[in-house]
């Protein structure tokens, strides 16, 4: 995060004003309205880079419904990157492509894309993630300060902590033990069997 980027508030405001067409359902298989690959390809050209190749476009097209939220988040992030601060610089296409294709999967698994538009904390999280992915920090913030704030907002880091807690591991052990108990294995009489 060596370079200074745009004002954070400018980016979060832009997210709050995401137009409806960027919130439409992405095309998945035979359903949906918006082709994420086309949106990203246009964006990359606006950022000064080449359009997506066919191979690159595959990362933004899917027939797997499990990718719905990820494609939605890509559309919201693409709207964010269309901010004139980025397009005017004409040098962020490569980092943007990398972030959009590989940097949003874990976040999309945890938080619905619309929350990055409607919820102030999640807007700030996405804006800071975007700047970080582009090697930038918010205007008028020190590097350490920006990193600390991003860590404290990070949904992905929070989930990692929850999953790694001793309580979760202990619970898994308890369930395995309970299923091995003699009384559990004896079960209870069933009037009808499957």
């Amino acid at each position: 995060m060596s370079a200074e980027g745009p004002q954070l508030e400018k980016l979060t405001r832009r997210l709050a004003e995401t137009p409806e067409e960027f919130l439409e359902d992405p095309v998945i298989g035979s359903r949906g309205m918006v082709r994420a690959d086309a949106v990203v390809s246009d964006l990359l050209q606006d950022l000064g880079g080449p359009p997506l190749t066919d191979a690159e476009a595959a990362a933004f097209a899917s027939s797997d419904p499990k990718r719905l939220n990820q494609l939605r988040l890509i559309l919201v992030a693409a709207w964010l990157l269309h901010d004139e601060w980025f397009t005017a610089a004409q040098k962020y296409a490569a980092q943007s492509r990398a972030w959009l294709s590989g940097g949003l999967g874990a976040l999309a698994a945890l938080v619905a894309a619309r929350l990055f538009v409607s919820d102030p904390e999640r807007r700030e999280e996405l804006a800071r993630l975007c700047l970080s992915a582009l090697g930038l920090r918010p205007q008028a913030e020190a590097e350490g300060q920006a990193q600390d704030r991003l860590n404290s907002l990070s949904s992905v880091e929070r989930e990692k902590v929850i999953r790694a807690t001793k309580g979760q591991l202990e619970r898994a052990r308890q369930i395995r033990e309970a299923m091995k108990k003699k009384a559990a294995e004896e079960a209870a009489a069933k009037a009808v069997r499957e």
Partner: protein, 463 residues
């Protein structure tokens, strides 16, 4: 005086119930009992079962393409308590709008990640476990709760009632006998059910090794006179061939598809309704036969059933898809679009029989499959499933070729490894030492089928 160990298993058994139990157990012609089990119902369960009994009748309704609001709220609330739901439903996910995109669950979630499925704060002290029969291609251990089992009995009452049967339960009656006919060892026991007013119950196996003689079996049934019977088609076929003198008010047939021919024979011989019953260990009862023969009506009021394509989208109206279940009353296994591996078409239009819930039409369940041992005797697929269940097998596919040779594909639990020599030896015990048998590990078994279930048993022999 009721012994303590019986009270542990049947905490609410009465003196009259205990007498009934002993009359079954000590009958001079009883089968060779090999198991002891109770209903484990406690006093705190009774009001909840009664509430369920009321709601099964009052909360029934038609459903559209997505679950009703109460069920969506249930899923939303569970997200915070069930790790697997937290993983598949991002925070803020709009269930009503995006239901078609909600990821599905399947047997693998229960076989490999059960600790991710059980709610984090659910009291485990009354957890019990059921093994699946393995006839669906996975051997599974499913956590359950005694109260949920009693609630399933309420669903039996409802289905019987819809077929005009209202048994009067009491300690002077035997509510039901569950029939099987298996070569391999299976549990054989008697019990009394608290929620059926201490009425008796027996699970028996119609195989000669489990009785003194077939005449004993006839005498046993003649005297205990069960109000109704449950079981699978193989058991009912044996009931007829053993000429068991029984006059049940109804028969509930489960587990494998009951042919029209056998159904008609049973009706003619026993003079009672024969009701197809669709139930899966992981989900509990799902549907029962329409009294007018127009498919299978969804039975519990607390589940939502849909038919899905390979990608998890609901199929178009009128098309057949894999049956998936959301909801249920097993507190340890909350189901979210759980793929059953069975196929059918969901019909949501009103049924002339008067039942308001949707129907499953063109149901493709688990067809009965029989193998032949090297010596030519019949080997039930259920027995093969039981043999494989002793090993860490996630899915299996057993094929008997026309020449009698058998090919077995196994998908193991990766971290546990699988000793193929021991599996082969277990299968040879059933199929005979002389059988030509080949086994192979296939870690992608089922994945290539994109959601379509593995056909766990297949026989190419002409019978």
């Amino acid at each position: 005086m009721i012994p303590l160990e019986r009270l542990e298993r049947n905490p609410l058994i009465t003196e009259a119930g205990y007498c009934r139990l002993n009359r079954i157990l000590q009958h001079p012609c009883a089968p060779r009992w090999n198991y002891v089990v109770g209903d484990r119902i406690e006093s705190g369960d009774l009001s909840l079962v009664e509430e369920y009994r009321r709601r099964v009748r009052e909360d029934r309704g038609p459903s559209e393409g997505i679950p009703p609001p109460a069920l969506l709220d249930w899923v939303e609330r569970l997200r915070e308590r069930v790790p697997v739901l937290r993983q598949v439903l991002p925070e803020g996910f709009n269930l009503a709008r995006d239901w078609a995109y909600v990821p599905t669950m399947d047997r693998e979630d229960l076989a490999l990640r059960i600790e991710q499925v059980v709610p984090v704060d659910e009291d485990l002290s009354r957890l019990i476990v059921y093994d699946t029969s393995g006839t669906t291609g996975h051997a599974l251990r499913v956590p359950h709760h005694p109260r949920a089992m009693a609630q399933n009995q309420v669903l039996i009452e409802y289905a019987l009632e819809r077929h005009g049967v209202r048994p009067f339960f009491g300690p002077d009656t035997v509510a039901c006998v569950n029939l099987g006919a298996q070569e391999a060892n299976t549990v054989i026991f008697a019990n009394v059910f608290t929620i059926w007013n201490q009425a008796g119950f027996a699970k028996v196996n119609l195989h000669p090794k489990d009785w003194g003689s077939t005449e004993h079996a006839r005498a046993f049934f003649r005297e205990i006179a069960p109000l109704f019977l449950t079981g699978d088609p193989v058991g009912f076929a044996e009931l007829l061939s053993w000429e068991i003198p029984v006059r049940p008010a109804a028969i509930l047939s489960t587990a494998t598809a009951l042919s029209e021919g056998l159904k008609n024979k049973l009706r003619a011989s026993l003079g009672c309704p024969v009701v197809d019953w669709y139930s899966v260990t992981e989900t509990g009862p799902i549907a029962y036969a329409c009294p007018l023969g127009r498919g299978l009506h969804i039975l519990p009021h607390d589940i939502f059933v849909e038919a899905l394509d390979a990608e998890g989208h609901p199929v178009r109206e009128g098309e057949s898809g894999e049956i998936a279940v959301t909801g249920g009353h097993n507190p340890f296994v909350p189901l979210l679009r759980y793929r059953t591996g069975d196929w059918g078409r969901i019909e949501r239009s009103p049924c002339p029989c008067g039942e308001v819930t949707p129907r499953i039409l063109d149901f493709e369940g688990r067809d009965p499959v029989f193998f032949r041992s090297a010596e030519g005797s019949v080997v039930n697929a259920v027995d093969i499933g039981r043999a494989l269940r002793r090993f860490p097998v996630v899915q299996h596919e057993v094929v008997q070729r026309a020449d009698g040779s058998c090919e077995v594909a196994l998908r193991g639990v990766q971290r546990l490894g699988l000793d193929l020599e021991r599996v082969e030896s277990a299968l040879r015990e059933l199929l005979g030492a002389g059988i030509v048998l080949s086994l192979r590990l296939d870690e992608t078994l089922g994945e290539r089928l994109r959601g379509r279930k593995v056909q766990p048993y297949r026989s190419e022999r002409a019978e």
